[in-house]
């Protein structure tokens, strides 16, 4: 029996995160990060936004988006840094740091939202 590898699971999270990030992030950054601060659009009222976040499903979804996107980023950062800097022999540490960061982000999101 060969050693089991966690890569399939990490890759699934990475791919899911990639899809979620691709579908959601550009529009959110466009609205909240660019158009509203620049005054092209008005900020919606805090109450409206809070209302949007009110249902539990939405909160859970936000947590999922956060976790997936962070995993996506963590996965790519792990591999790219190893390839660019040639530090693949420290893979275990790098992987722990990257995925650890993603998990931490998830925890913070839970704390914020619930």
């Amino acid at each position: 029996m060969r050693r089991r590898t966690p890569e399939p699971y990490l890759w699934l999270l990475f791919s899911g995160g990639g899809v979620v990030a691709a579908l959601l992030l550009p529009v959110l950054v466009l609205l909240f990060g660019v158009l509203m601060p620049l005054g092209v659009l008005d900020w919606p009222s805090a109450a409206h936004l809070a209302a949007l976040l009110d249902p539990v499903v939405v909160r859970l979804a936000v947590v999922a988006v956060v976790v997936l996107c962070l995993f996506h980023a963590a996965h790519r950062i792990r591999f790219t840094s190893e390839e660019l800097l040639g530090v693949a022999r420290f893979d275990l540490i790098i992987a722990l740091l990257c995925y650890g960061g993603a998990v931490a982000g998830g925890v913070i999101a839970v704390v914020l939202l619930f």
Binding site: S15, G17, G18, V19, A21, A22, L23, L24, L25, P26, V27, L28, V29, L30, L31, F32, G33, V34, M36, P37, L38, L41, W43, P44, S45, A46, A47, H48, L49, A50, A51, L52, L53, V62, V65, V66, C69, L70, H72, A73, A74, H75, R76, I77, F79, T80, L84, G86, G105, I108, A109, L112, L113
Partner: protein
């Protein structure tokens, strides 16, 4: 007899050809993805815990960074959705659905999702 020459490690490989550079750029969009999440969490925090999202988002450096982030996440979206057919070969009747159809579907989904999100956010109460 191992007299073969083993080339030294090439630290600048990603500068050797345009495609490599595009690849690295694609991978580095992930840093912006991470930042986008951080930024959105700050906004969420402000919304839920009584802060002013506009104050943080309005700082010049944050706007500048977000303009870059917009470009990066859009680039991420385009590349990611374009590459999807490679992993998902779909066959109907034994013949393969051409890549452009799958890509077209992905991009339509992206537009749709974006429109829905924008609608809910901007719908005035």
């Amino acid at each position: 007899m191992t007299t073969a020459y083993r080339p030294r490690r090439d630290y600048g490989w990603f500068l050797r050809n345009r495609n490599y550079a595009v690849f690295v750029a694609r991978e580095l969009t992930s840093v912006f993805v991470a930042w986008a999440i951080v930024f959105l969490m700050v906004v969420v925090d402000a919304v839920l815990n009584g802060g002013d999202p506009a104050a943080f988002a309005g700082r010049p450096w944050v706007i500048a960074l977000n303009v870059l982030t917009l470009a990066a996440t859009a680039f991420h979206a385009v590349t990611f959705l374009n590459l999807a057919p490679k992993a998902t070969v779909i066959r109907l009747d034994g013949y393969r659905i051409p890549d452009w159809m799958i890509q077209g579907g992905n991009h339509s989904a992206w537009l749709l999702v974006s429109a829905v999100v924008a609608y809910f956010v901007l719908r005035s109460p």
